[in-house]
């Protein structure tokens, strides 16, 4: 599933990044790599969401969240 479908409060493991190269690099530098665990903290109707990753919070727009492949992980 894509992170776009993520539900507030649940945790996910990243399986792959499928966005433009420039954005991929920025995401990787921010610590979003294959296998990284993230938690959805907040989401809006239009698909933008706030996630927690490696102890920081990131706001991510719909376009990017649709390009992040994740799998649910129980914490």
């Amino acid at each position: 599933m894509s992170l776009f479908e993520g539900i507030t409060g649940k945790s996910y493991e990243i399986r792959g990044l499928y966005v433009e190269e420039g954005i991929t690099r920025r995401l990787q530098a921010l610590g979003l790599n294959d296998g990284t665990i993230i938690t959805v903290l907040n989401r809006k109707k239009d698909g933008a969401l706030i996630i927690r990753v490696r102890g920081t919070r990131l706001a991510i727009g719909r376009h990017i969240s649709q390009g992040i492949d994740v799998e649910e992980r129980a914490l």
């Binding site: 966005v19 990787q28 610590g31 790599n33 239009d46 920081t56 990131l58 706001a59 727009g61």
Partner: protein
């Protein structure tokens, strides 16, 4: 000892790590250039002294990685790679140690002396966490690790002590081992780099960058690499770094007890899917109120003072027998023009105070998230909402507020559309013309200007968005920092530097502009003129009459008042009064006289012409102060000139369409 004279230190760290606050705490307000906390695009330099060692400190833009994809990264990278920089102070937000260490590892690979300043330890404590300060340096190749509090100004002496005593000890550039396959390649590349660039420092770092396919390093070091590697190892290198960081975190970071995060609780309201927007609007309304209600109240005092001042100057000048033209140039031209700029000080100071508090507290990044969907449709960043709203008050602070946006493109686009938001100085023009020609519908006519301005702004943004063929505008990606109490010192230094900047740069432009406008309106072919109809302005106005006729504005007095309006929009009204021989056009009697005179000159001048006049005033170039600000903020004269031409053409086009279509009805 190398150079005992001065030690050059660069401050490097992630955005929002408290780097600017720490920098300010050490250097004080004596900076060369200042900038926004978090989006420092310019270079800030300051000085410090410790144990008789002088230090020159450079603050770099906040970055997450030492790659070269963004301007901020390039600036920082060039700065730290510079041989002049002897020590790197890596400011780290201890509360998000895991992500911050990623940059640290890259800095260590440079092989230069690195001192780690561990900031925000109080947040770590508050969250019930603990960091092992003995183990952490061991894992990072024994670099000095100094806990500091930038906000409370603690640990600064220890940090400076570490800087001056360690600046000769290069860090071990092999803190992290990438595994046999990659290390072999790094080894081969390092050998080759050493042969070709024997004086190079940071050989290992360059080799790693080559493996990552770094464009800049590759083009600057065109060595043969095809036999060593043929694909980018960037992904592996990033993952190994983060895996190493995870192992560090496991060893040094402990949770004593879990506490609910204050930031998470605050975010529950401020970024709420439903309440986020209304809350933001309330905050905005409050900022608007402070900036304009309180600011205008203070501005009144400034204006009174200015009046008394210019009266006194005029008295003194006349008393010492100064030529009339010189008195007029100094009093009506320079003092009125430059003084007009000074009267904006209260508005600007209050606005920046509010903005600095919003930014420093961590709320500003949330605005981007909350407003992202709505603004994204027009291809604008969520933060662009703020300058647009402020534009209703005054374009000058609104343009300056565009600094809060992340990218140059976003900033410029916001600068393009912000002047369309009808500022308060345009209101007197609407009042005058709608009062003269629209009777009981005057309010509707005036209000429609605000609506048209907004529609034009969104339309232009949308067209630009489509023209530039951008992919979906919702590629929002921004860190939401921890909420914190705004730091008084950071805010004070910020507001003061902004004001200084505004006065020096916008002030000089205004000084020249006011002289030019004075010349145009007071000089004619026969020298100094008392009757404006003989001035250069009138000549220009007559020349432009045919151009303005299709827009229903073919009257030289109108053209002159529009030109005069460039100095400040409300001047359109006062120059109208002068040109039509009325003391004050804003009184009922004055209104009637102006309307009568207009009719005498051109009997066909009716509501449609008046409406076109209002429309033109709404859309054409903003006042000289606003343009000077655009010039300063964009840093580009050509952008400012192009924008001004576009605005004039756009205003003319819209007025012409309305007039031509209206005439048919």
């Amino acid at each position: 000892m190398k150079n005992r004279e001065t030690v050059h230190v660069a401050f490097v760290g992630n955005p929002n790590c408290g780097k600017t606050t720490l920098f300010n705490a050490i250097t004080g307000a004596k900076l060369k250039v200042a900038n926004w906390p978090g989006v420092t695009v310019e270079k800030m330099e300051g000085e410090a002294e410790y144990e008789d060692v002088r230090m020159t400190l450079v603050d770099t833009p906040g970055i997450y990685s030492l790659t070269s994809y963004s301007i901020e990264e390039k600036v920082t990278r060039n700065c730290v790679m510079d041989d002049d920089i002897e020590v790197i102070v890596n400011v780290v937000d201890a509360s998000s140690l895991e992500r911050n260490l990623y940059l640290t590892l890259q800095l260590l690979e440079l092989g230069k002396p690195v001192v780690l300043a561990l900031n925000m330890m109080d947040v770590v404590e508050e969250r019930g966490m603990e960091i092992d300060l003995h183990r952490l340096p061991e894992l990072l190749g024994d670099i000095p690790v100094v806990p500091v509090s930038a906000a409370k100004r603690k640990g600064l002496d220890i940090l400076l002590h570490a800087v001056i005593h360690h600046y000769e000890e290069d860090s071990k550039d092999e803190v992290l081992h990438y595994g046999q396959e990659i290390e072999e390649k790094i080894g081969k590349l390092s050998e080759r780099l050493k042969t070709f660039y024997p004086t190079h420092s940071s050989i290992r770092w360059h080799a790693i960058k080559l493996l990552e396919f770094d464009e800049d390093v590759k083009s600057e070091h065109p060595i043969e690499t095809a036999d060593v590697f043929t694909r980018s190892y960037e992904k592996e290198i990033i993952q190994i770094k983060y895996a190493f960081i995870e192992s560090i975190i496991k060893e040094v970071l402990f949770y004593r007890k879990k506490k609910t995060d204050r930031t998470d609780r605050t975010d529950k309201l401020l970024t709420h899917p439903v309440w986020g927007v209304p809350v933001f609007l309330c905050i905005m309304a409050f900022v608007f109120f402070l900036t304009f209600a309180i600011g205008d109240w203070l501005k009144g005092y400034f204006e009174t003072f200015l009046e008394i001042f210019s009266g006194k100057v005029s008295d003194v000048l006349i008393h010492i027998n100064t030529a009339d033209w010189l008195v007029s140039l100094i009093v009506d031209g320079i003092i009125a023009g430059v003084g007009g700029i000074l009267t904006f000080i209260p508005n600007i100071a209050i606005l920046f105070l509010a903005l600095a508090i919003l930014e420093d507290s961590g709320y500003m990044s949330r605005v981007a998230y909350v407003m992202d969907g709505i603004m994204g449709k027009a291809g604008l960043s969520g933060k662009a909402f703020l300058p647009m709203i402020l534009g209703f008050g005054c374009t000058v602070p609104a343009i300056m507020a565009s600094r809060a946006l992340e990218t140059e493109k976003d900033r410029r686009r916001t600068m393009i559309i912000t002047p369309f938001m009808s500022c308060s100085a345009r209101l007197p023009v609407y009042v005058l013309f709608s009062g003269m020609f629209f009777g009981k519908y005057a309010h509707v006519a005036a209000f429609s200007m605000y609506a048209i301005g907004m529609v034009c702004a969104i339309l232009v943004a949308r067209v630009l968005h489509v023209c530039e063929k951008e992919k979906s505008g919702d590629s929002l990606l921004i860190e939401l920092p921890e909420y914190k109490r705004p730091n008084g010192r950071t805010i004070r230094i910020y507001v003061w530097n902004k004001l200084k900047d505004y006065l020096s740069k916008a002030g000089t432009t205004i000084f020249i502009a006011s002289i030019l406008i004075w010349i145009v309106l007071n000089l004619g072919f026969n020298g100094m003129v008392t009757d404006p109809s003989e001035s250069f302005g009138a000549a220009i106005g007559r020349g432009l009459e045919p151009v303005m006729r299709p827009a229903g504005l073919g009257m030289w007095q109108i053209v002159v008042s529009l030109i005069a309006g460039i100095s400040a929009k409300e001047v359109v009204v006062s120059s109208f009064s002068v040109l039509f021989g009325v003391g004050n056009a804003q009184t009922t009697a004055g209104l009637n006289t102006v309307a009568e005179n207009l009719k005498n000159i051109d009997p066909s001048f009716g509501p449609l012409n008046a409406y076109c006049m209002m429309l033109f005033v709404l859309l054409y170039v903003p006042c000289a102060a606003a343009m000077a600000t655009i010039r300063k903020e964009s840093g580009s004269t050509s952008f400012t000139v192009k924008l001004a031409i576009f605005q004039i053409l756009f205003a003319w086009l819209m007025a012409t369409i309305v007039f031509q279509v209206g005439s048919l009805l």
